[in-house]
């Protein structure tokens, strides 16, 4: 082979690897709508919301009525390798990741852990622990625990995950608010495609249901007031009367793996692959979303997957149910996809899980792919008249033959992340 031909072959090989699908070998999650696929599916496809009303009482302040989606989860039941006290979110991360690794049947004794990476997102990481401990410090003069810093640092969960799995490849925390776990997942895809690692445990979490953190969200005026007669309908994505989101908590994890590595370890066939990913930044405003930035991100993710917009059979929107957020996303989806691609928005049922949201919502999209059924947007009675999209309303919708799904995550700070998933061939 001439050197020119060799270079061309190498370039072609690199290009194939750079766009190769990455296997989803396992999933695991702790969410307000359940910890098992059965429970998750049941709520997802029925559009049954876990959002409840909670009154937050802080001395000297008017009571705050909040819409909250909490997990039925006992963090004391989670065993950490470090034996250190865990932030609730880190405990959720460990539980979700252990479930994902279990489903993937990862044998840690035989895989090359130099090539096992942890890519994990969180928006506020240990804010809940910091809130509780500083409250006790100032209020009750209770001293700080010796390892408080290790519990609240942004990579607290990454550290525990790396320790638990003995990961010796990349172990990186991604902090870009609502897009944190989507970015973590996408960057792991790139690391696997680039040949830097073979396997990654990816995802994200946030556990923010402590008084100071909830009061912070409330102060921002982005949280929906829970209606007295139907608190679970507080979050109404794309509705004409939408009023913001419900704050959630949870974690979701996926095991990503190259096809070659899965074949070499004799892994069972996986049903899904991640086909495309893109991230960019609006570069325009901290919180006000920019439709052109979202359009660029979605188009780049489609290009990365090597597919057309018409190949996508379902979009799980970011869908925060804020006035500006849904308006920008409705416009950007309309521009990229027209009005024929069905759109769901699952924050209505599991709340806004911030750093865990992208991973949970990707899993919701994977479940739609698995069941060939699209989840309804809960609480959506009358879509905003300005939005010209095909919203999945009322009941779940059959989607036989669906091949690709797309999940959007758009963050404070302007970070956009879009993931395209498909069936394993």
């Amino acid at each position: 082979m001439s050197s020119g031909a060799a270079h061309a072959a190498l370039a072609a090989s690199a290009a194939r690897a750079a766009s190769a699908p990455v296997r989803v070998s396992g999933i695991g999650f702790v969410t307000p709508i359940g910890r098992t696929v059965e429970a998750f599916d049941e709520a997802l496809f029925a559009g049954r919301s876990a959002v409840r009303a909670q009154t937050l009482e802080i001395k000297g302040m008017d009571p705050m009525l909040l819409a909250v989606a909490a997990c039925d989860f006992d963090s004391n039941g989670v065993r950490s390798t470090s034996r250190l006290p865990l932030d609730r979110g880190t405990a959720m991360a460990l539980a979700a990741a252990q479930d994902a690794a279990g489903e993937a049947k990862l044998d840690l004794d035989t895989i090359d852990r130099d090539r096992l990476g942890i890519f994990w997102g969180s928006g506020l990481a240990g804010a809940g622990t910091f809130d509780n401990t500083t409250s006790a410090l100032y209020g009750e003069q209770r001293r700080m625990r010796p390892t408080t810093v290790l519990t609240v640092m942004p990579n607290a969960a990454v550290a525990e995950l790396a320790l638990h799995f003995g990961a010796r490849g990349s172990a990186i925390a991604y902090a870009c608010a609502c897009a944190s776990s989507a970015v973590a997942i996408g960057e792991a895809m790139r690391a696997i495609r680039g040949g830097w690692i073979d396997v990654a445990i990816v995802g994200g979490h946030d556990a923010m249901l402590t008084p100071g953190v909830m009061a912070s969200w409330h102060a921002m005026r982005v949280m929906a007031p829970p209606p007295a007669d139907a608190p679970s309908s507080a979050c109404r994505p794309f509705s004409g009367d939408r009023a913001g989101f419900a704050i959630g908590e949870g974690a979701a994890a996926l095991v990503l793996e190259s096809e070659a590595h899965a074949a070499a370890r004799g892994a069972e066939a996986a049903p899904f692959v991640l086909a495309g990913y893109a991230t960019n930044c609006d570069g325009t405003h901290n919180t006000n979303p920019d439709a052109p930035g979202q359009v660029r991100a979605m188009r780049a993710a489609l290009r990365d997957a090597g597919i057309e917009a018409s190949d996508v059979g379902h979009i799980n929107a970011h869908g925060t149910a804020t006035s500006a957020g849904d308006a920008a996303e409705a416009a950007s989806i309309r521009e990229v996809f027209g009005n024929h691609t069905p759109v769901s928005a699952t924050k209505a049922i599991h709340g806004h899980v911030l750093g865990g949201g992208g991973a949970i919502e990707l899993i919701a999209a994977l479940r739609a792919l698995a069941r060939e059924t699209l989840p309804p947007i809960a609480n959506l009675q009358t879509p905003d008249a300005a939005f010209d999209l095909d919203f999945v309303q009322g009941e779940a919708r059959e989607a036989k033959g669906i091949r690709y799904v797309l999940s959007n995550s758009f963050a404070f700070g302007g970070t956009n992340a879009v993931i395209v998933a498909g069936r394993a061939s």
Binding site: R79, S82, R83, L84, P85, R145, P146, T147, L150
Partner: protein, 99 residues
């Protein structure tokens, strides 16, 4: 009752903290067990001593018990607790561990 006894309230309290909060197997916990043999690293040992102090409402002076020092046993820890809390009702009624 002295704290060197494996059934003393002090020993039982610290054993419960080790078992519940630090996931140390009960079979690995005896008065003769050295802190360094509990399977806890230096960070976890710090948290353990912290939890013990909270449970017994006392502060163990660093010169009495450096958890990084090898050879200190749980029996020795019990003795320090009993000495530090002598005359205090708290010793007989340890609070629930809060770690």
């Amino acid at each position: 009752m002295t704290s060197s006894n494996a059934s003393s309230p002090t020993f039982n309290s610290i054993a419960a903290i080790l078992e519940t909060d630090f996931r140390v197997e009960r079979s690995a916990i005896s008065p003769d067990t050295a802190l360094s043999d509990l399977g806890l690293d230096s960070l976890a040992l710090m948290e353990f001593v912290f939890a013990v102090e909270d449970a017994f409402h006392l502060r163990i002076p660093e010169d009495r018990l450096d958890p990084r020092e090898a050879g200190i046993t749980l029996q020795r820890l019990c003795e320090v607790i009993d000495t530090e809390s002598a005359g205090s009702a708290a010793a007989a009624q340890p609070a629930e561990a809060t770690a």
